[in-house]
């Protein structure tokens, strides 16, 4: 839930920051630079990686083998970030990512996690009844497709390489990337052609 922070929490934060500033532990410039850097990360990076994988078999193989290297090749600094793994969907297999214990998320290539990803209901339900969650989300999974729920519990971060939709033959990388939303990269949605 994105309930606004309470005034007392904002005051608590500012007291802590003031104490850390006074002791030289952090500076306002460092906090601003950190926030700007986090704000720059966006699911457009993940979308671009996927579109390229749909067009370039060599890139695809590299990305599946080493997602971290693929993110670096997109110009994302992965120094200090957890390693990135990319999970390949097929016609008979689909992946959906969750972190039941906290909110592990491939921030370097997707940006801030959305509220729903961190919500108690998503974290709790998607391992137990993934098909119900997918259907509620508007992306029912066919009975003959194996749904793999990936619980991101430890040191890796995961994104999905979805199946390229039919009807996109001859499309450019930009056109393809536009189909790959953040929800598609998490796996709660499947790429859909514009109506």
């Amino acid at each position: 839930m994105s309930n606004p922070a309470r005034a007392e929490s904002i005051a608590q934060l500012e007291r802590l920051v003031a104490a850390l500033l006074a002791k030289g532990v952090v500076s306002e410039a460092e906090l601003a630079a950190q926030q700007a850097s986090t704000d720059r990360a966006s699911p457009e990076t993940g979308a671009r990686m996927v579109a390229r994988a749909w067009l370039d078999p060599e890139w695809r193989a590299m990305m599946l083998k080493n997602g971290t290297a693929a993110a670096e090749a997109m110009g994302v600094s992965m120094a200090g970030a957890p390693p990135l793994g990319v999970l390949e969907d097929t016609a008979k297999r689909h992946h959906v990512i969750v972190c039941t214990l906290c909110s592990c998320y491939p921030r370097a290539v997707l940006g801030y996690p959305p509220h729903w990803y961190k919500s108690f209901s998503y974290r709790s339900r998607v391992v137990r009844e993934p098909r119900a969650v997918m259907a509620e989300w508007g992306s029912p999974v066919a009975d003959d497709v194996e749904l793999r729920v990936v619980d991101s519990t430890a040191d890796y971060r995961w994104m999905v390489l979805p199946l390229r939709p039919a009807g996109t033959e001859g499309w450019t990388e930009d056109q393809l990337a536009a189909l790959v939303t953040r929800d598609v990269l998490v796996g709660v949605a499947l790429p859909k052609l514009p109506a």
Binding site: M1, A19, V26, L31, E129, W137
Partner: protein, 97 residues
């Protein structure tokens, strides 16, 4: 099995009954200014070696149940960061008044 034989820790909510019938809200708002500032503080403190993400999680997991579910996401982070800074002596109670 675990729902009956054992009580999982407060944060360990995969598959538990409590949220079984709660729809997943499509809430697309980006974090607010408070959330982004807590986030930036956490990352800056980690980068400078004052805390690890594992410690952050341990601090969040130690929040008593009633508060854990009442606080917002970034309020839980703030609670943990403050706990860690006090525990490590980076700041004192006195300095937070």
């Amino acid at each position: 099995m675990s729902d009956t034989d054992h009580t999982p820790a407060i944060h360990d909510i995969g598959g538990i009954q409590r949220f079984h019938c709660t729809p997943v809200e499509h809430d697309e708002e980006p974090p607010d200014a408070f959330g982004k500032r807590v986030d930036a503080l956490r990352q800056t403190l980690a980068r400078k070696g004052y805390m690890t993400v594992d410690e952050l999680r341990r601090g969040i997991e130690s929040i008593p149940e009633a508060e854990y579910f009442a606080l917002t996401y970034y309020e839980r982070w703030l609670r943990s960061i403050e706990l860690l800074m006090l525990e490590k002596g980076v700041v004192s109670r006195e300095e937070l008044k």
